[in-house]
């Protein structure tokens, strides 16, 4: 048991490095194969109680498998999308850098879920930062450079804090293990009851601050909308669906230790505070957005807030809901971004006031984008409805969480605004363009003529291709599956993961 882990660790790395030399056509095929393989292997890990490899340095339990499946699923669908979005024959240098970075990015995120130990977890997340920053900057425009700079400065500072938290947690462990030991999760968890509460409390706060920066918790979220809107679409999908989830996973690892040392109250309060802040601010900001991808970025912040609040309920139902939410959000958000990418390619702009008649121009991806947006607003029958339902009902079991649960419902209701915007862009016939200049804010650059907006340098502006449609269909299918009837084996996995997170009630 465990060879799957090694394969998952090796294949994307090799593919990523090879993409630097192979022609774009081959890179495309390799990425597809690697994504598919990773996803299948991650699925085979679901029934296992745990898997270990490399004498304990790689180890997955139910919790990490949830996130590994999330990442691997996105890796696969994004590879499919990229195959349609970036046709070979574009700028060779761009394609080479894109495929190398894309595969390495996925590899680093898979590694974050597979490694055993806080130091290695940090290393993996640091690698994701570096690669994703380069991917954000890849288009080389002014705004992309600006977004990448903000991202790399803010995320590095956040990771500095997270590293400090890791060191403090390590110090807490020295009481039990002496001054020299490997901070494996399982050993730390077993001994966590004897740690000094002050140190664990500090390390948890630092970890939430640090990894919360990468997860996009308000008020540490400022880089997120910029990076998401400026990155190439495939990267935006990975950032939003996978990277944020992986950062959340890191916080959950610290959470596991903290509840054993401190009891549930303190970690809950911290998560609740950050979660509510994210929920409220992002719901309010949603209404202000005119940029399609920024709109989805704020929706990501909102869903991260839901995750944090849900985690703070800490009942079994709520925690299962949170983990399901991670999966469903990945599926829905990636589909939405794919649709946005397809719309952007067609209309040459991300400004929603200039996009009209989407369903007419894009007969396949247009409607699917609408469905994904409905899914993101937690409408039945999609997965996010089920997960938010679980979270809210988990919260309502405890009267003191009821207020937060109600807030969560209201926050989700606010995101219906998102559906409103999106449906306008899609359903309003193309002839009825609003007169230009009616912008609410920041209008001057955003209303530049559509022709001036550069298309992706890697591709001739494609309309909608079968690849894109396939990627979106896969995402929607998964989202619907999670909503209508999650497979039994998956439910079992989520239950086990919730138990690992100390949610027994």
């Amino acid at each position: 048991m465990g060879w799957e882990l090694i394969v998952v660790m090796v294949v994307p790395l090799v593919v990523g490095l090879a993409s630097w030399w192979t022609p774009a056509k081959l890179s495309r095929v390799l990425s597809l194969a690697s994504g598919l393989l990773s996803f299948v292997l991650a699925l085979t890990l679901i029934p296992a109680r745990s898997a270990t490899a490399l004498s304990g340095w790689l180890r997955v339990d139910a919790l990490s498998v949830v996130f590994m499946v999330t990442v691997a699923f996105l890796y696969m669908t994004t590879a499919v999308f990229a195959a349609g979005d970036l046709r070979p024959g574009g700028d060779k240098r761009y394609l080479r850098r894109f495929f190398a970075g894309f595969n390495l990015f996925a590899w680093a995120m898979l590694m974050a879920t597979a490694v055993n130990g806080f130091a290695l977890l940090w290393v993996a997340i640091e690698i994701t930062t570096i690669i994703s920053a380069l991917l954000v900057a890849i288009e080389g425009t002014d705004t992309a450079t600006e977004a990448a700079w903000k991202y790399v400065v803010i995320a590095s500072m956040g990771l500095g804090i997270a590293l400090f938290g890791t060191i403090v947690l390590y110090e807490a462990g020295t009481v039990v293990f002496g001054s020299s030991y490997e901070p494996f999760y399982s050993e730390l968890l077993r001994a966590a009851g004897r740690f000094s509460p002050e140190l664990v409390r500090l390390s948890f706060v630092l970890a939430v601050l640090g990894f919360g920066t990468k997860m996009g918790l308000v008020p540490l979220h400022t880089w997120l909308p910029d990076a998401h809107s400026e990155a190439p679409t495939a990267v935006s999908a990975l950032l939003s669906g996978a990277l944020l989830a992986v950062s959340f996973y890191a916080i959950l690892r610290f959470y596991q230790v903290s509840i054993r040392t401190l009891g549930p109250a303190f970690p809950r309060d911290i998560l609740l505070g950050f979660g509510l802040a994210s929920l409220v601010l992002s719901s309010l900001s949603l209404a202000n957005q005119r940029d399609l991808k920024r709109l989805f970025a704020y929706s990501s912040i909102e869903h991260m807030g839901v995750l944090a609040v849900g985690m703070s309920f800490s009942t079994r139902i709520a925690v299962v809901g949170v983990l399901l939410h991670v999966l469903a959000h990945a599926a829905a958000k990636s589909t939405a971004f794919f649709g946005a990418g397809s719309v952007t390619n067609t209309f040459g702009t991300k400004d929603m006031r200039r996009i009209r008649g989407g369903t007419a121009a894009l007969p396949w991806s247009g409607p699917m984008l609408l469905l994904a947006v409905l899914g993101l607003s937690a409408m039945p029958p999609f997965g996010l409805f089920r997960s938010e339902f679980l979270i809210v009902s988990g919260g309502l079991t405890d009267p003191k969480d009821a207020v937060a649960a109600v807030l969560l419902v209201l926050g989700s209701a606010a995101t219906l605004g998102l559906s409103w915007f999106a449906s306008q862009t899609m359903l309003t016939p193309a002839g009825r363009r609003p007169p230009s200049g009616t912008g609410v804010r920041g209008s001057s650059e955003e209303l530049a003529p559509a022709e001036a907006c550069p298309a992706l340098p890697g591709s001739p502006p494609a309309r909608s291709s079968a690849w894109i449609v396939a990627a979106m269909a896969t995402g929607l299918g998964a989202l619907a599956l999670l909503g209508v009837h999650p497979p039994g084996v998956l439910s079992g996995l989520l239950e086990r993961a919730a138990r690992e997170l100390g949610a027994l009630r």
């Binding site: 920053a133 990448a148 500095g160 110090e171 001054s179 490997e182 002050e198 140190l199 909308p225 920024r294």
Partner: protein
Amino acid sequence: MLRLATLWTAGVPAVAPAFSPGPSRYSSVTEAITLVVLLTEFAMLRAGLSRSQVRLYAFQSFAVSVLAVFVAANNGIGELYAVAILAFVLKVVVVPAILTRLLRDAYVGLVASHRLRVATMVLIAIVVSVLAFIVIKQLPIRSPSLPTATMGIACAVILVSFLLVILRSDVVSQAVGTFSLGNGIDVANFIIAAGLPLILGVVLLFDLLVAAVVFGLLIRAHHGRARTLSTETLEQLRG
């Protein structure tokens, strides 16, 4: 008046009162070195020239590697020598060299990017450092390798490096601020995890190396675009 009179008549006490011997020489010296690291961080707040910013960073890294040697020698941790050498090669030589080269290509020497007056910035930084000391004082940190007061200093270095990034608006200061954050964490690492330098040391140096690569790329890209090293122009993306 009475006291004066007695002093006058009683003459001289034979010897000065006995003092507590004070801290050991090792802890005095190591604390002094960590303080040098902190003071360099303060100097970065002030430094006007991008070039001197890089030099200060090199100097600070040098102090950190000297500290590593001291800790290694006093506690008999062989691996820390390796960390010290690596830190020296990377942070004192390679990274400053790369940054200096980037700056030479950028033709921008003087960057007046202080968002506040220097004296105000220093006062804020003092307050922040005191805060760090007080917080760390509350924690039951027992270091096998260094005096515990250094933990407060390391934490102050980290916080002041945040200030550096926040209060300076040029690319070099922000980059150097992020790197020197690494130096502060390095010191914290020597204090807490000196027994396990391999894993955390690799973490830190790795962090630095890749960060340098990313920053180098970005500084170049940024300069190629904006023809200036100031981040004031980075304000297209809002909301």
